[in-house]
């Protein structure tokens, strides 16, 4: 299995082009996405702790609730995004007369999470080291929370984590392109467009969230 996962990362074309297509089974993609969800939960734990420091003292007493909510939200969001990525690929590939079930697309989307798990672990390690030194301005009113959050997102470590996310998203996109090619029976060009459109939109969203367009 380890060699298979390495093949996904290094040579996705060979992995998805195997006959019979063992990758159709959802067990391994589901485990990969679950691992991603766990790492996302850990990241949410740190991020929520950081954001809680912004909040007024009367809100900070609900830190425990905020942590549980943040972790749960991050894990559920990872699972939902898995389905959304697969849905986007499935719908867009319909334009190119793509064939193949949504289940196959879902499996491909799950394998694409493998580099994102690696990226999330690296980001988590960096975040773990640098988050104690992040300056969190005191917030007295709700109006100031937006400004404080924006300031937080502009911290160098936050930008670095976002950049890492983009790098690993490119890697994931590469896997998705070859996977969708086989899952939906598309040409490499059409598969690239199918994957490229939502990925490009997501990249724009990530850059926007960093406040580059602000």
């Amino acid at each position: 299995m380890a060699s298979s996962l390495l093949t996904v990362l290094v040579n996705p074309n060979a992995f998805f082009g195997r006959d019979p297509p063992e990758w159709e089974a959802l067990r391994i993609p589901a485990l990969i996405v679950l691992a991603a969800a766990l790492v996302a939960g850990a990241t949410a734990f740190l991020t929520t702790g950081l954001v809680a420091r912004i909040m007024p003292p009367d809100v900070q007493q609900y830190l425990g609730v905020m942590l549980v909510f943040g972790i749960a939200l991050a894990m559920v969001a990872t699972l939902v995004f898995w389905a959304l990525w697969a849905g986007a690929f499935f719908v867009i590939s319909l334009v190119f007369q793509g064939k193949g079930s949504y289940r196959r697309t879902l499996a491909v989307a799950g394998y694409g999470y493998l580099p994102m798990v690696i990226g999330s672990v690296v980001s988590l390690a960096i975040f773990w080291v640098f988050s104690p030194g992040i300056h969190v301005p005191a917030v007295a009113s709700v109006e100031e929370i937006q400004a404080a959050t924006t300031a937080l997102m502009h911290q160098p470590v936050m930008i670095l984590v976002s950049i890492l996310g983009m790098i690993f998203l490119f890697w994931a996109a590469n896997i998705w392109i070859f996977g969708i090619r086989y899952a939906r029976g598309l040409s490499l060009r059409n598969a690239a467009i199918t994957v490229g459109v939502p990925v490009f939109l997501y990249l724009i969203f990530m850059v926007w969230s960093l406040g580059v367009f602000a």
Binding site: P115, I126, G133, I134, H135, V136, P156, F178
Partner: protein
Amino acid sequence: MKTAAILILLIVTMGVLCSPVSAEDIGPRLVVSEYRLDPAVLMKDDVGVLTIRLTNSGTDPATLNSARLNGVEIQVKQNPYTDVLPIGPGDSLSFTYTVRTEASDGLYYVKFSVDYREGSTLRYSIPVEVDSTPLRILVVETPDPLAQGSKGTYRVVVGNPRPNDATAVTVIPEGEGFLVTPSSSFIGTLEPDAQFPLPFTVVPLRQSFIRFRVNYKNGINTHTATVTLPLDPSENRFQPDLALTNIRVTAGPGYLRIAGNVTNIGLEAARAITLTTGGDATPADPFRVFTAGVIEPDRSSPFEVTFRSPSSVSQVPVLLSYKDAEGTTYTDSMDVEFNRETLAEQASEPSRFITLLVWMLVIVVAALIIYAWRKG
């Protein structure tokens, strides 16, 4: 001639043998055998206790009707003895009177009068000396120079110019704006013309006065004498003096760090040096306190202290504490300002290693993608 001489001798002998026996020779004979005044010499406004011992040195008992003590300059505070008292031959009785004087120095007399039934009246004058000379307290040595915050020794001498003992002699330094050890010294009894030297170690903190008070007793009477000196300390020209230079404030994970050099710009070595942060800052690991043993004059030592502080704080005091060779402690503080936002960015600024790692990741991912497309 010879007959005349014998006749004269006979007449003289007869005269002696036939003369009557006097009453004193055969009755009671009262004498003041002893008296004692405590204190032996009174001072003005002092109260003393005069004890008189009356002895019947005669052969017969006597019955006393009254015993009185009278004085003019020396006032007798107690009523006379008016009880009828018998006193046998060879016996003694003691009479105790409380006396007080407001008189100036001199020698005065009180009269002791005893009426007794068998005779007439015994009158006896007792001298009472009044000398109001107090104990002398002298400062024989003062520190030179008297430096602020530095120890100096005052040598005090207590002398007794009085003709009698002074008891319970205690010397107490008084005043504010200085530290002194010992806080008081007990001498006890000081005999006439005796003196007792005492050292007091004083650390002046500001311009002030120091008063040495000697308390003593003359009998049961408490007296005091003082000597007051101005305490005008000058700046210690030789004391160690530390300055912080080349200050740098940086941020670490979870704390802020103040680093720089601590330089001794004084003329004496600074010892037992400690630096830490105060005010709103909370000293934090790894360098809560910086310590150094000795920094010689014109020498410096790098230092580093770490702390945490609320986000609103942009200035913290660095507290210095050091000692000179005599162990005198000096304290000082220096405010260090910093910009929290800049430091926060520093704190979360990835190191060059991390940046390099990210670029390597970019290259690796790019290589993998190119490899995958070539294979595809």
